[in-house]
Amino acid sequence: MNARQDTHDSGLGVSFIISTVIHLVVFLLLLWWGQLFPPIMAVQETYYVDVVNLPVANPRAGSPIQKGNDAETPPPPPAPEPPLSMPPPPQPNARGRAATARKSEKTEKRDTSGDAAFAERMAKLENKAASQQEEATLEQLRKKLKATGSGRAGMPAGSGSETGSDYTAYVQSRLKDALNQTNDYDSNNPMVYVHLYIGTDGKVIRQKLEQSTGDKRFELAVQRAIEKAGDKLVPPPNHKVFEGRFRFRPKEVSRSKP
């Protein structure tokens, strides 16, 4: 009986070889599959952009917009398109027309040199009309810019004319916008020098009135402007406390060296 069992179990070795081969084949298939469809597991690198020190494309728009400002300022209105065709030259009145007709009758009799002079006059008139149109468009744009310039305090759409390429310019722009809203003074030409300290969280941690012409009303207006602008300032770069001296005038805020 044992001999019979041995005979029957001889197939076990063959089965083992077949099983091993099958497993190897499956393993190689999986390898091939993995090469055909490599798993996407690459860790994406995170890039941090210092938006405060980012160069600004349009300096008139102030510093770049920070996230967190809930109210977004609308984009500036597009410039009015210039007319496709030039306006027609002013039509002469009836008397003028008659005179012109008479003149034209006379000129018909003249030689062709009169036509050239007429064309030259027409070109001058057209040029004048075009320059007038351009001037009017520019004037319209300037008016709109003045109208939209007074943005909210701390918002980048303010009327600050600074480039905003550094944090001081950014703070200056915000202070100027805020001062436009809180502006109030008694004397003719008040002036205040304030030393500001802005913490790493963007809050004004200290303000020091260093010099003043003595206009208390203007000093209060400056204080309110600082409070207003200081609400929504972005943190200074490099996690350092910002320190700067500013000169306040009724419609002007400028940097001042100590």
Partner: protein, 223 residues
């Protein structure tokens, strides 16, 4: 496959054990499949031949043709015991009755012993399938738990809990459970299938034993 390269040593050992289990279980599955298939086929052919034949000695001379059938083993054992009984009966005629009964019992015992022997042979190695089916998922789970522990340790060191950091570690760990299931599922299915086939063969052996004893008793009583 890149996952395997980055797993820890414990998970690698775990995976090797599981692959070993899988290779062995598939070896047994294939071996048992052919063994039971041949046993069934030979048993059917042997039963046809058995009922068509008139004499035991004629069957005994042809029984090697159905070597894979467990019924041939039963027949050989029963026929061998019957031969011994017939030899003993020719030597001592004075105690026929008692010897007859003892001889049939001997044949019955021989058939029972052969049946048990064949059941043991048919069920050999199937316990490994049961073991693979029940333990492989747990071995895989162990690898997964270990891998996740290692992954969390790495997360703690890097200090980042983003999906990009957490996901690869968990994916590496889960491959152990996956391979454990790959090894266990065929093993469990094959085990259940073979158990059913073996039960059918046991019934056939019981029926054949009964028929063999009936034939022997009829012939002995008739003489």
């Amino acid at each position: 496959m890149g996952l395997l390269n980055v797993t820890g040593i414990v998970v690698k050992i775990d995976l090797l054990i599981l692959i070993g289990f899988s290779v062995l279980s598939w070896t047994i599955i294939m071996f048992k499949f052919f063994q039971i298939y041949k046993a069934n086929a030979d048993s059917e052919r042997f039963m046809d031949f058995f009922w068509k034949s008139k004499r035991f000695d004629a069957i005994a001379s042809q029984v090697d043709r159905f070597n894979s059938s467990p019924l041939t083993m039963l027949f050989n054992e029963g026929y061998g015991e019957l031969g011994k009984f017939m030899e003993g009966r020719g030597k001592a005629d004075t105690s026929i009755l008692s010897t007859d009964l003892g001889g049939i019992e001997n044949v019955s015992r021989a058939l029972r012993r052969a049946t048990n022997s064949e059941i043991t042979r048919l069920e050999k190695y199937t316990t490994f399938l049961a073991t693979t089916g029940s333990t492989s998922p747990f071995i895989g789970l162990f690898g997964t738990v270990w891998g996740i522990m290692t992954a969390f340790e790495g997360i703690g060191k890097t200090g980042s809990a983003s999906l990009a950091v957490v996901a690869p570690g968990i994916a590496e760990a889960l491959i152990a459970t996956a391979i454990g299931l790959v090894a266990a599922i065929p093993a469990v299915m094959a085990y259940n299938h073979f158990q059913h086939k073996i039960r059918v063969l046991i019934k056939d052996m019981d029926s054949f034993s009964t028929e063999f004893l009936n034939i022997v008793q009829r012939n002995v009583a008739g003489k």
